[in-house]
């Protein structure tokens, strides 16, 4: 039965249900319990923003606090996965990738290929990403494009509570290493989520809104912004089709190309820096494979080639807005 819960609750429920189903599922990270070795509560935090709250007592011994040693414990999660555990390691902020990238892209991602197909590494690495919290340059990046670049990794960017639960359950059950990225501005978003266990398959984009004038491909939180923009554009007589890839690796190229073949126009909305981004990747995909269908140049609405700023006055300028998406969609619709 579906009821309304938040994105954050959906993630907690997915972890809880999978830990209940499979003893091999463990959760580890900095303060995932929050209080190990302290004189007070052993699970005072349940994650820095409370996403794993309550799991510590429900699943004794399997919610494991770590030292602030990202290489150490992310690597340990990878090693445990090699011998059949299904660890979910929490990196807290995706920005901390910088201190453990080797374990992810040289170890986990490459084992299967380097070892001739004789290894499976069913690890999930969860992290928060994205701007909007006045958290400044080292706690606000997207970085999904960096993981998407690496063969051997799968990359998941849910845009709503329903997908967050179904995609996380799929991530835990998946036999390849998965990077599961949660936009911190979505944690309080509410949506209909079934109580039952279900999965959302990888590599299947959602057509969030149908339309025939402009295709908008939006990543993660940008799906919300695209919906705002599309509602406004509808009033102006421009009918947008919004595609949420849901996973950037694998990427559902068919759904994107089919939509562009129908509309002839593409706007890609990606919160991250523009260079070597999902926006440029999808723009390249369409330019190469659907050039004949295009009625206008492809437009990319992205952050900037600059770190995410601290001051709200600057950060609001940085994050792609509905107004920018509207302007981009109108420019391609009106292109002669």
């Amino acid at each position: 039965m579906a009821r309304k819960i938040t994105y954050q609750q959906a993630i907690n429920e997915a972890l809880d249900q999978e830990m209940g189903r499979d003893q091999n599922v463990i959760v580890m990270g900095e303060d995932v319990a929050g209080g190990a070795g302290s004189p007070g509560e052993q699970d005072a935090w349940g994650g820095v923003l409370g996403v794993t709250r309550g799991l510590y007592h429900k699943h004794p011994g399997r919610v494991i606090d770590t030292p602030i040693s990202e290489s150490g414990y992310v690597g340990a999660a990878i090693g445990a996965a090699c011998v059949g555990m299904r660890p979910v390691a929490e990196l807290m902020f995706v920005d901390f990738l910088g201190v453990c990238f080797d374990q992810i892209f040289n170890q986990a991602a490459k084992f299967r290929y380097m070892f001739g197909g004789k290894a499976e590494t069913p690890v999930v690495i969860r992290a928060m990403y994205g701007a909007g919290f006045r958290a400044a340059a080292q706690h606000s990046q997207c970085l999904y494009n960096l993981f998407t670049h690496i063969p051997g990794l799968k990359v998941v960017v849910p845009s709503n509570p329903y997908d967050a639960k179904g995609l996380l359950i799929q991530s835990i059950r998946d036999n390849d290493p998965v990077i599961f990225l949660e936009h911190k501005a979505l944690y309080t978003m509410e949506g209909e989520v079934p109580e039952e266990i279900y999965t959302v398959p990888f590599g299947e984009a959602a057509v969030v809104r149908e339309g025939h004038d402009v295709t908008i491909v939006a990543i993660g939180r940008m799906v919300q912004k695209a919906q705002e923009a599309a509602a406004d554009l509808q009033k102006q007589g421009i009918h947008c089709e919004i595609i949420d890839p849901r996973t950037t690796s694998p990427l559902d190229t068919d759904t994107i190309l089919e939509s562009v073949e129908k509309t002839g126009r593409l706007v890609v909305v990606d919160e991250s820096h523009p260079r070597c981004s999902m926006a440029s990747d999808i723009a390249g995909l369409v330019a190469e494979n659907a050039f004949g269908s295009l009625k206008a140049p492809i437009r990319q609405v992205t952050g900037y080639h600059a770190p995410v700023p601290f001051s709200d006055a600057l950060e609001e300028l940085y994050i792609p807005s509905a107004a920018k998406i509207i302007a981009a969609a109108k420019s391609v619709k009106e292109y002669k």
Partner: protein
């Protein structure tokens, strides 16, 4: 208490060390012809370490290795014939020719892989050890790493994590004196790598890595302690590599005659043979028979590797994912 070595154990230890030596000497010879692709880092001279440690391990125990990994693979039970084919880039290799010398792995015998990243294995063994601990299994994990890796943050993090979680891990530092061309006298800030153990709340010991028996005893004690739930240890073995960092390295950073002197006076195989024949446990003839069998095995592995097929275009994009 480390298990007393039987006659069969001694024969097995000698065979393992001889197999590693023959494998590496043969690669040294064949690499010079230019036929072997890529680069190889040879383990010759260090055989007592891998063998002395792995004689204490069973197939359910795990090891992580280094770029100088052939010896660890052989000692842990990876098939040398498949390894040779792998190094020659053949489809019949341990990793279907997709990994090569630096990435030979065989999880079926608990070998988590040689590793092209210095210090990469430390965190991984914390994971295999954590899995054993959570499952209530008495299995241990060993991370082999060199003096170069001893200065990597991953090793520090892994040592701290293993202590914090009280994991059955042995950090096995093979100090061969050189991180590539840089002396450990320069790069390691303390006298012995084992001195660092106390900083991570674990016991540390330094042993003579040319002496199989010393390594066997020291590693055995640490492994037994870990199996009993006593937590991690750091064991440093001091030894030497006979060849360069990689094949082609002229080793001009080493003292003249340094390697030859070690070969003549400290060689682990010579010491082992002298000890077991002097004690009367094994005869020279038995050792000579093993030498001949091993030579035939390695010769055969090279003949096979040379004639085995290479992977084809159909193999290029397989094994990236389980499913995609």
């Amino acid at each position: 208490m480390t298990k007393q070595l039987t006659r069969d154990d001694l024969l097995k230890a000698y065979r393992t060390m001889r197999t590693i030596r023959e494998f590496e000497e043969r690669l040294h010879t064949d690499f010079a012809t230019g036929e072997i692709p890529g680069f190889v880092h040879l383990y010759a001279g260090e055989e007592a370490s891998a063998t002395g440690v792995c004689m204490n391990l069973g197939p359910e125990d795990h090891i992580a290795s280094t770029h100088r990994g052939h010896g660890h693979c052989i000692a842990k039970g990876v098939d040398p014939v498949g390894m040779m084919a792998e190094i020659w880039g053949r489809k019949t290799g341990t990793c279907k020719g997709k990994g090569g010398s630096m990435h030979i792995a065989d999880l079926s015998v608990g070998m988590l892989g040689a590793n092209g990243i210095v210090g990469g294995g430390g965190p991984l063994v914390c994971g295999t050890a954590l899995a054993a601990k959570l499952r209530g299994q008495p299995y241990v994990s060993v991370c082999f790493f060199g003096d170069g890796a001893s200065n990597q943050g991953t090793i520090f993090e892994a040592m701290n994590l293993a202590s914090v979680w009280n994991l059955p891990v042995i950090f096995l530092a093979e100090n061969n004196g050189y991180a590539e061309a840089t002396s450990s006298n320069f790069s390691v800030a303390c006298d012995n790598i084992a001195d660092r153990a106390s900083a991570f709340g674990m016991p540390g010991i330094t042993v003579d890595g040319f002496d199989f028996f010393a390594v066997y005893e020291a590693a055995g004690a640490a492994i037994e302690r870990a199996r009993q739930g006593g937590g991690p240890s750091l064991v440093e073995v001091k030894l030497s590599r006979y060849y360069g960092h990689f094949e082609g390295d002229q080793q001009t950073y080493r003292a003249p005659g340094e390697v030859q002197n070690i070969r003549d006076t400290k060689d682990c195989l010579l010491q082992f043979a002298r000890r077991v024949t002097t004690s009367g446990q094994i005869t020279q003839a038995e050792l000579a028979a093993i030498d001949a069998e091993v030579k035939a095995l390695i010769d055969g592995s090279v003949v096979k590797a040379k004639s085995d097929p290479k992977p084809t275009e159909a193999d290029l994009l397989t094994d990236v994912y389980v499913s995609y």
